[in-house]
Amino acid sequence: MISFEMPEKIQGARVLMETVAENMMRPVSRQLDENEHEIPWDYIEFMHTSQKAMGASGMTPGDEKQRKEKEGGEKKKRPRTGFQTLAFTVEMLSWGDVGMWLCTPGGLLGAAAVNATGTPEQKERFLTRFQGDKPVFDAMALTEPHAGSAMPAEVRTIAVRDGDEWVLNGEKIFVTAGHKALVDTDGFVVVWATIDPEAGRAGVRPFVVEAGTPGAKVTKLEEKLGIRASDTASIVLQDCRIPFENILGPAEVIEKKKKDEEGFKGAMATFDATRPLVAASALGIARATLELLKEMLEERGVTIRYGLPRSRMTNIEREVVDMETWLRSTWLLTLKSMWLADERKGNTIEASACKVKAGDVVVKITQKALDLLGPLGYSREHLLEKWFRDAKINDLYEGTGQINRLIVARRILDYSRHELN
């Protein structure tokens, strides 16, 4: 039964997040933008405490486990809404400040990878730390200096087995929250490395590297166009030894024929869950922009008259109505992809599709809003120019717009990566 009724639980979460966004994020947004590398500890501590209380954490839906406990492990037929709730949460926090949202403790991409590919034992060992007394960060390191989009096929970081340890060597760049995961808190980074350079993608595995591991070192913090509240780190792994059990997925390279599958599947499973969240994040910025644009126009006597044929609208009205159309349609697609995830149905196409459109839409909306507002939009007195800078990252990370188009295209055309690349 098709329905667009927002469940009460989501309404509640949304109201809560809105309070956080308005009171803890917006007031410090500009300051963090102007003081790159400053860490928003107040926000971090607050989110850690409140997430612990709610049982949810970062990018992994929390309601499943909690519910089971409450209902004595009994299976109940109530539809799951964990991923949908997350999408709403991420959208609202990014409406507050996207850089700060990326500083939310308790599970970003690294935790999502463990959640998607880890054994129950690994999940226990790596994920329970998020429920501890202190906030903890995680990160995911796939990109290397020579390649981003081409990953994981061109991973050069090497993992060599030595008894009951793996020895990692290589360099990772652009690791979101890498510093917070390895240096500022007792977190971990999921590092993608190859156990067999001859095997191509089949040899690539994610490994968990914990804070304090000798040989894992943050060597650089990037200075960026936007999302400056979020640290983007380079990590050098030099004879970095980790326990054998820290490999996610099988330790052997499966026969060459099946080679594309195993290790790679893990990454894909992760992205199906995280891409829609990046889309949701992008749309949070887009909504913030559109709201402020309308507010500023209204203050100057311009209200949008909905319903008119295009020939009767002013240019500003047409632009705003188009923006609203893109925003709403993309949001619904994002929500659908998370609904599919909650229903445990395949969502690869939708996950990449909403990421493509959200990346486009947030870039277009922020660019147009500045254009329409002239010097007001361009001024650092308002956050619009910041959102314009923040927006662009959504077209880049979690697969660029082009890479996600490729994924959608391959799926609808039923092509392998050899046929379409």
Binding site: M1, I2, S3, F4, E5, M6, P7, P79, T81, Q84, Y306, G307, L308, P309, R310, S311, R312, V321, D322, E324, T325, W326, R328, S329, T330, L332, L333, L335, K336, W339, L340, I349, E350, A353, C354, V356, K357, Q402, R405, L406, V408, A409, R410, I412, L413, Y415, E419, L420
Partner: protein, 363 residues
């Protein structure tokens, strides 16, 4: 709870409509477009699928309950086959729906059953006006009160089957609000103009209308003395056409995609070139995201909420989607896309009309 899955009944209806679209509408579409005539039995068969009847309660001769969601699901599936044929089959919706939504109990009982219980007959609405800036909530056709009746003056365009309509539902401005009046075909002061010619949907016979001091009794006003709120009708009209725009867009994608896999250039299918593959991916993305706008608008209509904004965004988005996808389908077929032996040029012509068609169907 959010859900993006039609229920079982809706799925069955979609299946039946899809079969009709594929086996009946699509094969007749080209010939109908060129000759300007839809085979009579084609419309009859489409009518018998009961899409409109399923949205009318039993007490008024139907066999279901009013559901805009079911309506848009069916309309999309049908428009995938052919837009002109769909507009013909659904033409009586522009007469029935305003009465169902805005009519008095008596009007519903009296006026709906003869349309719904019978074979397809072109009871149709006269809604669109011949102006570049036509806006349904500010009609130029005027109705004024005169001694217990209404007198209508003005012009309409794009009235399907007006020459054969037993009765028309004429939309006109009454004291600043759009209202609707039942006008029998033989009413004095009603002139049916020449058959109109368009860029597309030429299989649908449409006519201009003129009203010169056309007088109708007060009881012919939908909603009686109080009238009705035109916002819901406006939203319904926008939503209905938006769903058909998605049908047309999906048709374009479904045609261009296999073509691109088959057509080769320098030894590889053109679909293996990113510029083609990305176009297809973007078509799919636009179609799915805008389809959800239509569903949301329809769902809101069914909740009895004000759906004006959603319906408006849906029409805005799907109108662009239809133009984009049909244009690209022509592009992907290359020179063949331009040839009338292939359907995509017709869809491109139909696609451009979406925003102008609002008012030709209601859900």
């Amino acid at each position: 709870m959010y859900s993006f899955e039609p229920n079982d009944e809706q799925k069955m209806l979609i299946d039946a409509v899809t079969r009709y679209a594929e086996n009946d509408l699509r094969p007749s579409a080209r010939e109908a477009e060129e000759s300007g005539e839809l085979p009579g039995n084609l419309i009859k068969k489409g009518w018998e699928l009961g899409v409109l009847q399923a949205s009318v309660p039993e007490e008024y001769g139907g066999f279901g309950e009013h559901s805009a969601v079911t309506g848009v699901l069916a309309a999309e599936a049908m428009a995938w086959g052919d837009l002109a044929g769909t507009l013909a089959v659904m033409a009586p919706s522009t007469y029935v729906m305003p009465i169902l939504i805005g009519g008095t109990q008596e009007q519903k009982e009296k006026l709906i059953a003869p349309v719904i219980e019978a074979e397809w007959k072109p009871y149709v609405g006269a809604y669109i006006e011949p102006n570049y800036d036509f806006y349904p909530l500010e009609m130029r056709t005027k109705a004024v009160r005169k001694n217990g009746s209404y007198v209508i003056n003005g012009e309409k365009t794009f009235v399907p089957f007006a020459n054969a309509a037993p009765s028309l539902l004429v939309f006109a401005d009454l004291e600043g609000t759009t209202q609707a009046f039942v006008v029998p075909a033989d009413a004095e002061g009603l002139t049916v103009g020449e058959r109109e010619k368009w860029l597309g949907v030429n299989a649908l016979p449409t006519y201009s209308l003129k009203f010169d001091d056309l007088e109708v009794p007060a009881e012919n006003r939908i909603g009686g003395d109080e009238g009705f709120d035109p916002a819901a009708i406006f939203a319904s009209a926008n939503t209905a056409i938006a769903s058909m725009a998605i049908g047309v867009s999906q048709a374009a994608l479904d045609y261009a995609l296999p073509y691109a896999k088959e057509r080769e250039v320098w030894g590889v299918p053109i679909a293996q070139k990113q510029s083609i593959a990305f176009m297809l991916a973007e078509m799919a993305i636009e179609i799915e995201s805008n389809r959800l706008l239509v569903w949301e608008a329809a769902w809101k209509l069914d909740q009895g909420n004000d759906a004006a904004r959603e319906a408006y965004l849906a029409l805005n988005g799907t109108s662009d989607t239809a133009m984009m996808t049909t244009d690209r389908a022509v592009q992907i077929l290359g020179g063949y896309g331009y040839i009338r032996e292939y359907p995509v040029e017709l869809w491109m012509r139909n696609g451009r009309g979406i925003a102008a068609f609002a008012g030709l169907a209601m859900v």
